[in-house]
Amino acid sequence: MSSAAEKAFEELKETVGRVTVDNPKMQAKNVDVFYGDKQAIFDVTCDIGKNEVIAMIGPSGCGKSTFLRCMNRMNDTIPSCRVGGDILLEGDSLYSSSVDPVMLRARVGMVFQKPNPFAKSIYDNVAYGPRIHGLANNRAELDDIVESSLQRAGLFDEVKDRLNAPGTSLSGGQQQRLCIARTIAVNPEVILMDEPCSALDPIATARIEELIDELRENYAIAIVTHSMQQAARVSQRTAYFHLGKLVEVGETKTIFTNPTHELTENYITGRFG
């Protein structure tokens, strides 16, 4: 890091740009995350708006995935992990003792880097969530949920004749769309995506990106990506993380043409930083 950038980072008291939105779905407020005694996230405040895609970018180890995982309490599974501050979904704290993490994860779904279909049929992959959450009263309703989820994930036409084939028999891009179908089958409000295309080829990536844009009509989406161009293509707002701090948040169109903070500029233009 250049000394000027280093100094600017040290002097960074609060995030540059507007961290709030007029119509928030989720609100992270002064979030700190520790793994044991090591602090991974420092005082991050950021909203996710309804019907928006927010991209989280930054170098490896900057805390963007850690932050994303706080949004549906995935970090609960790591014993040494402690989360400070608060995260609200529609105004209610995720971390209050009355919240059941399993119910929460139905409302805030997650798609991972590597497609991870269950070792079950395509049908059962999608039906799994609705079954455990009791969303269907009978087989016909379940069929409807499975079909509409596969439709919305843009996969139905490709798999309608082999719904009983194993999910793992699909190509990588199809598996990822299956995982997205599985996520939306339980009618979530927010979808978190952790590098959803990094294992996919450009064509499968383009399909997922197109899908993300369609899903935005009904969901709030936060996506962590290492591809700056992907962030530029799919998101309306972009958040830049650096060494655990949220350096800058802004409209994607501004971040990629005229970012404010030197560190953001250095990162997105591929300068030493």
Partner: protein
């Protein structure tokens, strides 16, 4: 262009590409400036040889525009530049279009100078262009300086000097119209001189454009089709 930290990309090759583009734009600017100076000198000094030289050298300006454009397209396609890198490429693509047009205006000066160089009859009128030409030359020079130094404040100040050029052009037009009315037999020659004045005035306009690209490049702000005086005031400048 140190402000842009062009040499700090992780990719050395990218550094080199941007550096090359930057150097070529500066070279093109120098060439265009020389063309304008020579065109004007040929006109007011009645130098037919220099005039021909100017009109024949315009192809070099055109060739540079094509070459720089090609390099910019390569950077856009292969590097997908963002932020200041993107603004640099966009500013360069636009600036060289204006430079090429300035080159065309200089070529016009050369062509008319060559045609008029047969006699000394219009020399007194042509010398009236000297003052306007001086204003235009210095404005072009300073706008290219602002580009080379990435000095947005300077660019805003330079752009405002176009008002003086427009005023001088209006005065000159009135003067030439008066001469035309007094001596209609010389209408062809006097029209050529009017066109030369017009060419100089246009160079002023292109210089304003270059200044606007400097502001866009440095500050990320588009001040085209706005009041440039107000744009400067927004930045807290106190310039007149």
């Amino acid at each position: 262009m140190d402000k842009l930290h062009l040499d700090q990309h992780i990719s050395q090759q990218f550094n080199q590409e941007l550096e090359d583009i930057r150097n070529q734009v500066l070279a093109m600017g120098g060439l265009v400036e020389r063309q304008v100076t020579n065109g004007l000198t040929a006109l007011v000094e009645n130098d037919g040889d220099l005039a021909t030289q100017v009109s024949e050298a315009d192809y070099q300006v055109n060739a540079m525009e094509v070459e720089i454009d090609e390099e910019c397209i390569q950077v856009l396609a292969r590097r997908a530049p963002t932020a200041s890198d993107l603004r640099l490429i966009v500013a360069v693509i636009k600036a060289i279009t204006d430079l090429e047009r300035i080159g065309d205006e200089a070529e016009k000066l050369g062509r008319f100078a060559a045609e008029l160089s047969g006699s000394n009859r219009t020399l007194e009128y042509r010398r009236e262009l000297r003052h306007l030409g001086g204003l235009v030359q210095s404005m072009l020079h300073d706008s290219l300086d602002a580009f080379a130094r990435l000095d947005a404040d300077m660019a805003l100040k330079v752009a405002q000097r176009d008002d003086d050029i427009d005023l001088e052009y209006d005065n000159l037009s009135r003067l030439l119209t008066t001469h035309l009315m007094e001596d209609p037999r010389r209408v062809t020659e006097l029209l050529m001189i009017t066109w030369c004045a017009r060419a100089l005035e246009r160079i002023g306009d292109h210089s304003v454009n270059i200044c606007e690209y400097v502001v866009y490049l440095v500050k990320g702000r588009d001040i085209r089709h706005t009041n440039i005086g107000e744009a400067g005031a927004e930045d807290g400048q106190t310039n007149a």
